[in-house]
Symmetry: C2
DNA sequence: GTTATTTCATACTAACTAGTATTTTTTATG
DNA sequence: CATAAAAAATACTAGTTAGTATGAAATAAC
């Protein structure tokens, strides 16, 4: 990787960490360049505005991570019920990039930036749509395999699963405790079983 | 109501609207006093700091509204399944104070202010706890009435219902469309039926 | 190696931020 | 009505914000 590409990536990664823990609006460019040891000139060479950097974080950090860790693994799932549960459980309890007290990066950005920045909304929307579509397809596959009832509506389930995840992450943030995740997961399991 | 109490309430109400639609951090005191036609002197006579005003909004606007509209009506419910559905449906589709593109005021504040302001977290936590406890009690009552299976765990259901609501509100915000609420509500109905 | 282009460094600005100091007006109380 | 206290008005400050102007160093092309 060229030196320039490296500074760009450093900015995106460090800025992501700051924004994930502090929020977008309250993370200043001065703070970003201080923690990255990159000068303001360099920053504004790579990004015309703060918002352009924000969108780049979604496109170049969040989307690839999401795709690799949570979309691809579900795409060819032969046992969606188990894999959905494991995916959510991993996200809540094990993912080393996430912290209970900071919530979900995608959920946070959605809450903070919509409806005020269209570029953010669009990028986040694409990410979420892709995830939901993957869940929907997995349901369909499970139905042909006889693992899920035929009358279950895949789209509805995708909305329900994804909403619950976003919501409980916000709740975990409020309580700063994993224990609510444990309670949530138990009922999530019950819900998934009700689809059988 | 005294004139002073009236200006205080005006500040809280208008500030709430601004914060609900724009977010807490990005709503400036200058903006609040501009829209309320109240001077800075008056503002700082009633509130020592911006954060003190923020907490007052939770205590004096959000808590009473929540208590009157969504906690009391559930407290003596004789048909919790139906009442849960109606409560969520009303919140999503009918409540005139809420707007799909701005999400849930409580969820928004939680996301934005925790873990950075303990007073906010505490006040929001109390509000949420009270709501969840009411749901839990309603489940218990429904179980004695034979409307919900005995093996259903009330706390788990409360977490699940409330998470789903917060999550779908964030989703509605992203899409700025009621249609995802419709889809969500269908699956919410299915979930509630699975408790019978 | 010279030149052109990319990449980065420094110093600055104008607008905005929460909050303060001080004075004036309004209201309550005797 | 006089006076004290409550409530509100005005002008200000110090710090922070995103973004700019301009020049210097590094890299690539020839």
């Amino acid at each position: 990787m060229s030196k320039a590409a490296n500074t760009r990536l450093t900015i995106l990664q460090k800025a992501f960490e700051l924004i994930y823990s502090k929020g977008y609006q309250t993370t200043s460019i001065d703070e970003i360049i201080a923690t990255t040891q990159v000068t303001k000139g360099a920053f504004y060479y790579h990004f015309k505005t703060k918002d352009e950097m924000g969108v780049a974080i979604i496109e170049e950090i969040l989307k690839p991570t999401m795709l690799g860790n949570f979309i691809k693994p579900i795409e060819n799932s032969e046992n969606p019920i188990e894999d959905f549960y494991n995916m959510i459980s991993y996200l809540l309890l094990e993912d080393p990039l996430l912290d209970v007290k900071y919530g979900c990066p995608v959920g946070n950005l959605t809450q903070e930036m919509t409806p005020w920045n269209n570029q953010f909304s669009k990028a986040l929307s694409e990410l979420v749509d892709q995830w939901m579509l993957t869940i929907e397809k997995a349901i369909l596959r499970a139905q042909t395999l006889g693992l899920i009832r035929k009358d279950v509506n895949g789209q509805q389930v995708a909305f329900f699963v994804m909403s619950g995840y976003w919501g409980i992450r916000n709740f975990g943030k409020l309580k700063d405790s994993n224990s609510c995740y444990i309670v949530y997961l138990k009922e999530f399991r019950n819900y998934l079983n009700s689809l059988k």
